[in-house]
């Protein structure tokens, strides 16, 4: 699917696929704009700077001595 060409019908199917079944046409237009914007933003993530050893910055941690 060409990202710039994402259509309302395509986004309607995508929404149904994750259970967003109560969106009106106006809501779907919003979802279309929001999804296009999010996809455009992805191109601004400097992913090429990542090395395989770069770890995620997760919040979760176990306390010292806690059994796993």
């Amino acid at each position: 699917m060409a990202e710039d060409n994402l259509t309302l019908e395509e986004v309607r199917k995508m929404a149904a696929g994750i259970g967003l079944n109560h969106l009106t046409d106006e809501h779907l237009q919003q979802l279309l704009r929001a999804t296009r914007a999010a996809r455009a933003r992805r191109t601004h993530l400097p992913l090429s700077s990542l090395d395989p050893a770069d770890e995620p910055a997760h919040v979760f941690s176990l306390a010292a001595g806690e059994d796993r």
Binding site: T35, A38, R42, P46
Partner: protein, 468 residues
């Protein structure tokens, strides 16, 4: 005593402790001011004068018995309405949570109660701290006290407006992409996003778990430091809470900046995102003032601003949608349009992109902290533009993302928005002072030196001048 509404926390505390001012008299004065003016500013979503008077009477009795609890005892404050206060609804300014009555206090609310504060009510926010300013919600948006036709920033909108308007000397906000510092900047007050984990998030409705911070808005730097001292502390029930926040934030305020090394991140507002000329001039004048006070100023480089903003929005929208997905399935019509669209931006972010954004976050935070190794604090823009009109959605949309605050939600660094003057139209200008993790005391020290040298804080909005 006249002008009680412009007393700072520190000034009021001294008067209250010395029994030269009654908490009840003080509270009544602010109640009268709120009743008179808030109909035009909408800073309060839920005004609770009855609770305030009970708190004030209790404070008066305790202080009368010599049981002074500290600098907030008998002093009014308010909470952004995503922060739980037991017995009151926490609505997040949304129809979705209109009847969501909190059973217990948020950790920060409990701390301020224990400090003897006088609770004045819940303050307006953007819907779920993301959708605003909106006119399609059950409550109107807060407006800017310097000109009510203008945006007061957000999402801690009411916290900024109430503080600037002299309704409260201190208010609490939250900050996921800049939401304490934006209203502080737009309203000409001081707002701190502390180091991630210094203030517990427990009992605060999340926007994005890994980026959410709680912070104070006040009219002066000293008050901000006093408030953070009361708010900070370990909470074992918040998994992001740090074991030991240093505290003592107000202790070294008056030590000046002579010899301190200040790094200016100019490329954020000169190259990456060109600031409005008046805003840029205000920041440059502030940098020159710090140099004149004896700071060693040098320019430093960070990653391009757009890298941080893309990373912040990827994390923020993904985490926000995860929390809102159930409501988006069942009640999408109950959101305002702005919140619905901004939250839905996270619906189809790929898992790999989210994970990669967290990897970038660690890398960018490490690199940023390394760039601070040889300086004490950094200075940069907060908003790139003065406040726009609140009734101009295109202008709001254009200026909303033109900011350098979300950078420090990514790095987790302490970042303080302080006023640096006013535009020709009389609207506030601001900058950020940023520190290494847990160096809030040093950030406050630099900000206080600047504040004392400029006294922007002595200017207040005139309600007689605002349009009706």
């Amino acid at each position: 005593m006249s002008d009680l509404h412009w007393l700072t926390v520190a000034e009021a505390a001294e008067l209250l402790r010395g029994k030269k001012l009654s908490p009840v008299e003080y509270t009544r004065a602010l109640i009268a001011r709120i009743e008179r003016h808030d109909g035009r500013l909408n800073a309060f979503l839920r005004f609770t004068p009855e609770i305030a008077l009970e708190d004030a009477k209790r404070a008066e009795t305790e202080i009368g018995r010599g049981q002074w609890r500290g600098p907030l005892h008998g002093i009014p404050y308010g909470l952004k309405d995503i922060i739980d206060y037991a017995g009151l609804p926490t609505t997040a300014h949304s129809k979705i949570l209109a009847d969501n009555v909190a059973a217990i206090d948020a950790h920060v609310a409990a701390k301020l109660k224990a400090a003897g504060g006088v609770f004045m009510g819940k303050l307006s926010t953007h819907e779920f701290a993301i959708g605003g300013p909106s006119f399609d919600l059950p409550w109107p948006p807060a407006r800017n006290p310097w000109n009510r036709d203008h945006f007061c920033g957000g999402s801690s909108s009411g916290s900024g407006a109430a503080t600037a308007a002299g309704f409260l000397p201190a208010a609490i906000g939250t900050d996921t992409g800049g939401s304490v510092r934006n209203p502080a900047s737009m309203c000409g007050v001081t707002g701190m996003k502390p180091t991630y984990g210094v203030v517990s998030r427990r009992g605060v409705i999340a926007l994005a778990y890994s980026l959410d911070h709680i912070g104070p808005l006040t009219r002066t730097v000293r008050d901000n430091a006093l408030m953070l001292d009361l708010m900070a502390g370990h909470d074992p029930l918040d998994p992001g809470s740090v074991p030991h926040a240093p505290g003592g934030y107000a202790a070294g305020l008056d030590r000046g900046v002579k010899g301190l090394k200040v790094g200016v991140i100019r490329h954020f507002y000169q190259r990456d995102m060109k600031a409005d000329p008046e805003m840029a001039a205000g920041i440059e004048a502030a940098v020159a003032k710090l140099a004149g006070l004896g700071a060693e100023v040098r320019e430093i480089q960070a990653a391009p601003l757009g890298d941080y903003l893309a990373c912040n929005r990827t994390l923020l929208t993904s985490e926000a949608f995860a929390m809102h997905e159930k409501w988006m399935r069942e009640r999408p019509q109950d959101y305002g349009a702005l919140a619905r669209e901004r939250i839905m931006a996270g619906a189809f972010v790929r898992a790999a992109d989210y994970v990669n954004a967290t990897r970038l976050r660690r890398k960018m935070a490490d690199a940023f902290h390394a760039s601070l190794a040889e300086i004490d604090v950094a200075v940069t823009a907060s908003s790139m533009d003065p406040p726009c009109r609140i009734d101009d959605p295109q202008a709001v949309e254009h200026t909303y993302g033109r900011q350098a605050r979300a950078v420090f939600n990514i790095t987790g660094s302490p970042a303080l928005a302080v006023p640096v003057g006013f535009s020709k139209a009389g609207l506030p200008l601001a900058m950020q002072i940023v520190g290494k993790p847990f160096s809030e005391a040093l950030v406050y020290r630099v900000a206080n030196a600047y504040e004392q040298a400029t006294r922007w804080v002595e200017r207040h909005p005139s309600f007689e001048a605002v349009s009706a």
